[in-house]
Subunit: 378 residues, 2 copies
């Protein structure tokens, strides 16, 4: 069968994150979660129950319901037309499709290290070369345009940035975004700004590079903001010509995003589920405090206090010698203490010496998980 | 902006089908429909209303809910394991993803002419060369293995077949499928069998090449069977190694199919919506009879009586001289009589001289539409 397989898939396998989860059983304490476990807001569920039989649940237009595209454009915080919005099967399809319609073989795409592992994987699948720009712990994992500049070549076409950041929890400042915007305008590099954690923040509201740069694509979804991962509802906002090209891709790849999810998202983006969204964010804030407290109480590990998202990137570099690397440490932690965490190397070379802990878990699991982590690292 | 675009998208634009629909206004009579306009079965809507707040609507596993994969395997009619099933964002994502994981530049992929336009478009996007095998009207658009054989070269990797067929309505016989299976086994060509219309038939139940051939992939969905197009819920059944590779692609492209749609499909595939499914099929049968009667009453155009799907492929070759070709005829029909039909060339060169009429429209629209078509062609 293998002789049938295309080369673009060679070396692409399940992500390290998925493989770690596959090793875990249901009795494990899961601090590896990449999604909130809050249910879909009750007000949205009620709306679906009450209204779904009135909705047309056939195909929508490829680009999505006009009302939803309008709400995305209206809510984004900068001037775009609804025609620039395409509704996608979660942010993942937006990311995937954008790279498919942008990347030629030989193109270099700048991706963060550490960063979301799908960035380099999809770039490779599209035939491009991912080139990492580093985020440094001693710099609080900030976005440094000088660091990006070092990696810009004649082949650089696109840069992917992600704020609030997975896995570090960093939120990029206006100064960082402005400085990068100047560089990208000068070099003619297109930015894809992955803003799926934009609504999950604990200090200042995250800013968007879309406000400062000439050419941008913004990706977002209701997955994290409204704990609606399984609804598969996201979008991209792109320059008009690119939005049109993206829609051609999108038609061939998935036809359109699920209709029922689009209707549910209209309700959410109208602001009719804000109370629960706020409650969830408050609960996350409490869990963040708890996780930081437990880290201090049970361990002597260091971390950056996350300003956004729901991850703590924990420094285990001083503890790692007996395991060799962070992957081995994570595997040992799973087998000895039944705690799932993601090794930093899942996010790139710069992640070595780190573990990503998610505080999307319950308070009990956060406390018990960190107690076990403390015992494990001794 | 165009200098950013990847070459794989060059020449790919909205399909002719979409462009024709874009020209139509809401007062047009639409005989171009590619979906049933029946609402989602009431029993399914009721199930969603009653149970959705109990469902976990977060991510499912990439491959889909175990129960749904099991039902697909159990219902397909031949022996496969649930591990061979991946739940997708409609049949479209299955088709798209399979071609992405199979096609290398230079590979030749056999596609039907006339046939669903996405086949050659996706093959091109994946870097392959679509090579058409012809279906002939004088042969009732049957699948002829001799015709396929003529087009098999050393570069042929995959053939796509589609029964019941869009746009011709033909259903391939056991003999046709067996004869093709023998050829494909001999030549080592993998078949992708697109069976999305499998449950929409008016004579003998359609057979599947999966029963006769060594290596196959079958694609299906709930879109046509249960009038659930907008739920974006399909699947592929593939050899184990290919199913595993497909899941890696699927994770990067869309993460997973929508959870709520997966739960709704579990209900449908358990057979709990069969009464409405049967009623819909009976209604379609009545509309087919009506469309054939109206064709005879109002026009002197010839067609093949469709054995499956919900299209009639109508021969306008004797009437076409004053328009030049079927596209111009369709555009004129739309502007003069406000009737939407799809020109045969949307489906390939062999479609020239034909129009595809959908009888998914209401009885009133079928009657009035065909009356106008009769007047138009005079």
């Amino acid at each position: 069968m293998r002789h049938f397989f295309s080369e673009r898939m060679s070396g692409l396998d399940k992500t390290l994150i998925r493989r770690i989860h596959d090793l875990a059983d249901s009795s494990s304490i899961n601090l590896g979660l990449g999604e909130l476990r809050f249910p879909t807001p009750k007000s949205i569920m009620e709306h679906v129950r009450e209204k779904s039989s009135e909705w047309n649940l056939g195909y929508t237009s490829n680009e999505g319901l006009a009302e939803l595209r309008g709400l995305v454009a209206k809510n984004c915080g900068y001037a775009v037309s609804p025609d620039q919005v395409c509704i996608t099967v979660g942010a993942e399809e937006a990311l995937f499709g954008l790279l498919m319609v942008l990347v030629n073989p030989g193109d270099e795409i700048l991706v963060p290290d550490p960063g979301y592992p799908a960035y380099p994987s999809i770039v490779k699948m599209a035939g491009g070369t991912p080139r990492a720009y580093s985020l440094y712990p001693e710099d609080n994992f900030a976005l440094r345009s000088e660091e990006v500049k070092k990696n810009v070549t004649a082949k650089t076409k696109v840069i992917i940035i992600n704020s609030p950041n997975n896995p570090t929890g960093a939120v990029y400042s206006r100064e960082e975004l402005r400085s990068l915007a100047r560089l990208l305008d000068e070099k003619g590099v297109l930015v894809i700004s992955d803003e799926v954690y934009r609504d999950i923040y604990y200090e200042d509201e995250p800013d968007s590079i879309a406000r400062y740069v000439q050419s941008f694509v913004v990706i977002n979804s209701v997955s994290k903001s409204f704990s609606m991962t399984g609804w598969r509802l996201g979008w991209c906002i792109a320059p008009p010509e690119l939005a049109k090209l993206f829609a051609s891709f999108h038609q061939l790849a998935v036809t359109c995003a699920p209709s029922i999810s689009q209707h549910a998202a209209v309700f959410a983006l109208k602001g009719l589920a804000e109370a629960e969204k706020r409650q969830n964010l408050e609960e996350l804030r409490r869990r963040r405090e708890l996780a930081l407290r437990c880290l201090e109480r049970y361990t002597d590990l260091r971390c950056l206090k996350p300003a956004g998202a729901f991850y703590i990137f924990v420094d285990i570099s001083r503890k790692i010698s007996r395991y060799g690397n962070s992957l081995e440490a994570a595997l040992n932690l799973l087998s000895k203490e039944k705690v799932v965490v993601i090794p930093g190397t899942a996010f790139g070379q710069r992640g070595e010496g780190y573990l990503r802990l998610s505080f999307a878990a319950s308070a009990e699991h956060i406390d018990e998980g960190l107690r076990r982590i403390g015992r494990f690292f001794g």
